[in-house]
């Protein structure tokens, strides 16, 4: 059974993103975590973050055969877990034919990689320590 069928929005103003040759990079300004999306993942992110309902996206994506409904479902679960999306209400956006074409042309599986090796530097304090390979004092979680 599909868990995710509604409309979503970017979780907060601290979630910022840019696209590079069709691949999205998302930064959570508050935690310092970076997320790198595969090409198919970038299209799904683009659609969901602009308000395309998950149910419509799943129907369209499975029709073009790029990714399965189950994959999209668990991908959305991951985006919610990472705190990048939140359920939203409001008028649904339409999935553009351009985005659907790009999704049909995607070559990589649905994927989002988390890069949080420097997140500690951004998010927590107050105990500072020196982590030599970083060339700068890494900030460790206070105990």
């Amino acid at each position: 059974m599909m868990q995710q069928s509604g409309i979503y929005a970017v979780a907060s103003k601290d979630i910022v993103f840019e696209s590079f040759d069709g691949e999205a990079v998302v930064l959570d300004l508050a935690t310092g975590k970076y997320f790198g999306f595969s090409d198919s993942g970038s299209r799904i992110w683009e659609a969901l973050s602009s308000g395309v309902p998950a149910s419509e996206l799943i129907d369209a994506a499975t029709a073009v055969g790029t990714v399965g409904a189950g994959e999209i479902d668990s991908f959305i679960g991951q985006l919610l877990e990472f705190g990048l999306l939140v359920p939203a209400s409001g008028a649904p956006a339409l999935l553009s034919s351009e985005l659907l074409t790009q999704l049909a042309q995607a070559r990589e599986p649905l994927k989002v990689d988390l890069h949080d090796d420097l997140a500690d530097l951004i998010v927590v304090d107050p105990i500072h320590d020196v982590e030599e390979p970083l060339g700068w004092p890494a900030v460790k979680q206070a105990t």
């Binding site: 910022v16 300004l29 508050a30 304090d125 107050p126 060339g135």
Partner: protein, 353 residues
Amino acid sequence: MGAPRQQITLESLPDYARHVLAVAESRAASYPLTSQIKLPRLELTAHLGPGALADAIGNAFVPVRADEAEAGACGVFITHAGIEGIPAPATWGNQLYIPHAFATRLAEAGLRGSYFHDLDFWQFYDPERHVGAQLMMSADGFPPWEPGAPLRAFLHWEYAARGMRLTHAGTLGLNGKGILLAGSGGAGKSGTVVAGLLNGLDSVGDDYVLIDLNDGVTAYPLFATLKQDPRGFARLGLKQRLKSYDPLNWQGKHQFRVDDIAARPIPASLDIAALMVPHISGNLESSIVPVSRKDAMIALAPSGISQMPGERESGFRFFSQLTSLLPCYRLSLGTQPAEIAATVSDFLARGDA
């Protein structure tokens, strides 16, 4: 025992910032030294006392040679509780200190700032008035990394306000054209810069360079400092090359200057032709292969944003634009410094670079 020190919260932070700026500025006559530093598009005047910080400010920068008509100006007051009329720095209260919340609160008030708990070391900047203050408990009450790149935070704020950016990247160049080397520590960035300098290439710096995106991607030198751990120092032959060198710095690294090892004077700027992500391959020969802009962005942006207080979103946008403007490559580093330099040199000499 003196009076209990003020405890700062997010709520009181903007008022405290304004207070520190006003007090530091009001004592302008009590700073024994005035240091004027000519930097790209900026003349910075630091008011401070003698000591390690003053020495560092005298040595750390690459001064701009030519007069620049469009240079702006900013002033920084470096002060401490040992100066008459300057109160002891406040301390952070019981509230959890979250750097992003700290920076956001100040930004809402039109200010910038940073705080280092262990020393109650405060830095505040008013980008509208181009005035900054650094408040310390004593003349030497600064974090150990401060002399390596003095006034770094103030330069970061001032240049960010001008749409430019201090960027955590190495540089190598030839005949005015250059590459940016991105990546966190341990990727081989600094070793590559030194290998290039020792073998006839130019550099406008390692660690922090100034990037302008107004007309292509231009890198300017700010700090002349280079660093190598003792292993790299020996491997690159610096032990023999540098007649004398200072004791290891706070990171356990040798610290020296670009002009100690460069064949030519540091160029005034480099036109950046490519963004490269170095990595130590273990192969004998170096190679340069395309890498996705997404991967290059993830190599470039995190350290540049996390090592600088505030301006995170503007940094993310800036580094995104920078990455989009450049072809991106993975530079797999061979084992021989001369061969690494030759690989970069060949790349820069090619028409497509």
